[in-house]
């Protein structure tokens, strides 16, 4: 009898009582890209990194810093402009030419005045804003995140970056009011329920992003003749940022292979030794 009552109560509970649900952050399933650097043997596609760097330089760098990357890193092994002829990436002429285009703040050693000078390969990418407060005020209260580790700092990595930059500015579904200075992006984790007038069960996934849609077709002209579609630009810049956050990936994977082979051999030998010694452990 008691069991029946309990079962009935449980059933009634299931049907009738909705527990308080907290509006949580939602996000559309990420667009999955097949990257050249996926898997234990994957490597970066150098042509793609060069294209991605061009997108970063001509589009993203207006607002996003790349604090942890020095110009010389572009010429490191596995990097966009790695050239085996220049073992020391500081000597790489492409790297030097890129660095020279940037103006770096410095102090004049004679007069002590604050000056700007052309960059060298040892310099780091300068920030587009003097400080965080300046970045915030220039971007309507949202600070554009530093891009050095962006691919590592977001769940989904390059897939996330590709999804967000190509989904930015998606037309708002009916009933959704987009606040001033923001854009709707189904791939940006967020909660738009407060801005949605409609069936709460059908609240659109995703969130608002303060970044205007960054990519349009032919926004950059690729040196290798690749057609600059939005998808292409998005993939290339995501690949470049994946490299920026994990520049030692190729070195890591190749050393890893040697280490794994060694460890399997060592384990085999130790097992043989173990069996040999224990075969003497008779009674």
């Amino acid at each position: 009898m008691l069991r029946k009552i309990l079962a009935a109560a449980t059933f009634a509970g299931l049907v009738a009582v909705a527990g308080p649900s907290l509006a949580g952050s939602t996000q559309a399933p990420l667009k999955e890209v097949h990257w050249s650097f996926d898997g234990p043997f994957g490597k970066y596609d150098q042509a793609q990194l060069q294209r991605g760097f061009k997108v970063y330089k001509e589009v993203c760098s207006a607002c996003h810093s790349l604090n942890e990357i020095a110009f010389r890193n572009l010429g490191d092994p596995g990097g966009p402009f790695w050239n085996p002829k220049y073992k020391n990436s500081n000597d790489n002429p492409v790297v030097k030419a890129i660095a020279k285009d940037y103006q770096i703040a410095d102090i004049d050693s004679d007069s002590g005045d604050a000056i700007k000078r052309p960059g060298t390969s040892a310099d780091y990418f300068p920030s587009p804003f003097a400080n965080t407060a300046a970045a915030r005020s220039a971007n309507g209260g949202a600070v554009p995140p530093d891009m050095s580790l962006l691919a590592a700092a977001r769940e989904g990595g390059p897939d996330y970056i590709y999804s967000v930059v190509t989904g930015d500015g998606t037309d708002a579904p009916a009933g959704l009011t987009i606040p001033d200075g923001k854009y709707y992006d189904p791939w940006m984790p967020g909660d738009v329920s407060a801005y949605y007038k409609g069936d709460p069960a059908k609240t659109p996934v995703g969130g608002f992003i303060a970044m205007p849609p960054p990519l349009i077709a032919d926004r950059v002209t690729y040196d290798d003749g690749t057609k600059a579609t939005v998808e292409q630009e998005g993939k290339d810049v995501a690949a470049f940022l994946a490299w920026a956050s994990d520049p030692k990936m190729e070195e890591r994977k190749s050393l890893g292979l040697s280490v794994m082979i060694f460890l399997f051999v060592l384990t085999g030998i130790l097992y043989g030794s173990y069996r040999k010694i224990w075969s003497n452990a008779g009674h």
């Binding site: 109560a9 449980t10 009634a12 509970g13 299931l14 009582v17 909705a18 527990g19 907290l22 949580g24 952050s25 234990p40 604090n67 942890e68 890193n73 995140p145 530093d146 050095s148 580790l149 590592a152 700092a153 977001r154 769940e155 984790p189 956050s245 520049p247 030692k248 070195e251 890591r252 994977k253 050393l255 890893g256 280490v259 794994m260 460890l263 399997f264 060592l266 384990t267 130790l270 097992y271 030794s273 173990y274 010694i277 224990w278 075969s279 452990a281 008779g282 009674h283």
Partner: protein, 440 residues
């Protein structure tokens, strides 16, 4: 076994000279020839694996400290720019150190579960067990402080949450947190003192490990049967039998370790920690490292701050008092089928707590299913699953363990560990061949 006679014979004049002044070679030789039960299985190799882990952490840690800058502005850069990009093999050494912490905890959990299963905590090995518990607590403190050092978002907020636990105590809470922080919040002074202590504590761990091994060598090893060693023929010298077995196990363990270091170095970390600490913004979903998740879930299960903190401490405290909670005369769970069943449920409860600790605080266990509310929360919520699991966690120690030892009927325990060993190839232990119980 404690009266293991020294078999060391100094052969050269120098050795004889040294032996009468500092018998250190004798000490090492006696350690190596220590009589060890011949039926120890692979679960017993984790002691050696743990020694390996501690060594890896100390060596890689000392090297990392040479490149690390414990300042609010410099910590994140010195790790992410300096060590990960510029220092030769810095990415490898940090990968070993960061993943090594997880490997260390994986090994220590298996080591603890092995001790629980085979009853290694029982007389006369209580002090050995207590020292192990002390090492575990020191490990958690060390790992927590080490996690703060990269000064990412998770570092900062993890430090804030854990240090704020001490604020739960009435009256002394506030001054105590100020003392821990050296400020009004987690800040540069906190980072500096954590760095200092993170460097110190591993050596404290090493010292307690020495005591742990000393305490092991007084009564000698326990073994899977739980029966004490009766004669010399029950044992083998530690070297070469167990040195080679431990080395083989370490090598297998290193394969797993290497998979993480080389192919998924960030898999056990949190993406939020790749952003620099921001004292004004908490990450949307803050969780501790996996090895602390069950305790975190116990903390969250309780809607009162002070009781939550006490429960968290109590969960650890259970391990410390376990030797005096277990009333059974039988050591190994091999001969305690009922207790073994409760033990496996306990492992499931710990795993459930670990899962709960990683979920959103108000999330559902089965998505989309709504049941009914009980004390403010849906019964189908993470909160309730962690409450039920927490209750089982404590009941296992405080109710099941003492009562079952008095009421259960254990299986027959073999006369000696030699008996089952005889009927099997060397080194393959088995409970199946247990001799009839001879307890009078």
């Amino acid at each position: 076994m404690s009266d293991h006679p020294s078999t060391y014979q100094p052969n050269t004049a120098i050795e004889r000279w040294l032996d009468t002044r500092l018998p250190i070679i004798r000490f090492g030789a006696d350690l190596m020839s220590f009589p060890t039960p011949r039926n120890l299985n692979y679960w017993y190799t984790f002691g050696g694996i743990l020694a390996f882990c501690l060594g890896v952490q100390i060596v890689t840690g000392i090297v990392l400290a040479m490149h690390y800058d414990p300042s609010g502005a410099g910590a994140f850069l010195s790790v992410q720019r300096g060590i990960m990009r510029d220092v030769n093999y810095g990415w490898l050494i940090r990968g070993l150190h960061a993943n090594g912490a997880s490997m260390f905890f994986l090994a220590v959990y298996i080591h603890i579960l092995r001790g629980l299963y085979y009853g290694s905590y029982k007389a006369p090995r209580e002090v050995l067990w207590l020292l192990g518990c002390v090492i575990y607590v020191l490990m958690m403190a060390t790992a927590f402080m080490g996690y703060v050092l990269p000064w990412g978002q998770m570092s900062f907020w993890g430090a804030k949450v854990i240090t704020s636990l001490f604020g739960a105590f009435p009256f002394i809470g506030k001054p105590l947190t100020a003392l821990l922080w050296g400020g009004f919040s987690v800040d540069e002074p906190t980072l500096n003192r954590f760095f200092s202590l993170h460097y110190l504590l591993p050596f404290a761990i090493a010292a307690v490990v020495a005591l742990h091994i000393w305490a092991l060598h007084v009564p000698g090893n326990a073994n899977p049967t739980g029966v004490e060693v009766k004669s010399k023929s029950d044992t083998l010298p530690f070297h070469p039998y167990y040195t080679v077995k431990d080395l083989f196990a370490i090598s297998v363990f290193m394969i797993l370790f290497a998979v993480f270091v080389f192919y998924m170095p960030e898999a056990l970390g949190k993406v939020d920690n790749q952003s620099m600490a921001d004292p004004l913004k908490t990450p949307a979903h803050i969780v501790p490292e996996w090895y602390l998740l069950p305790f975190y879930a116990i903390l969250r299960a309780i809607p009162d701050k002070l009781i939550g903190v006490l429960a968290l401490a109590g969960a650890l405290g259970m391990l410390f008092i376990l030797p005096w909670l277990d009333t059974s005369k039988v050591r190994s769970m091999r001969y305690r089928p009922q207790y073994r069943m409760f033990f496996f449920i306990w492992i499931v409860a710990c795993a459930a707590l670990g899962w709960c600790g990683a979920q959103e605080p108000d999330g559902q266990v089965i998505h989309g299913l709504t049941t009914f509310n009980l004390i403010d929360y849906d019964l189908n919520s993470v909160t309730w699953l962690s409450r039920i699991s927490s209750i089982y966690y404590f009941a296992y120690f405080l109710v099941i363990t003492p009562l079952l030892g008095l009421t259960e009927t254990p299986l027959p325990v073999p006369d000696s560990l030699y008996t089952p060993v005889l009927s099997h190839p060397a080194g393959v232990p088995s409970g199946a061949a247990a001799a009839p119980e001879t307890k009078g």
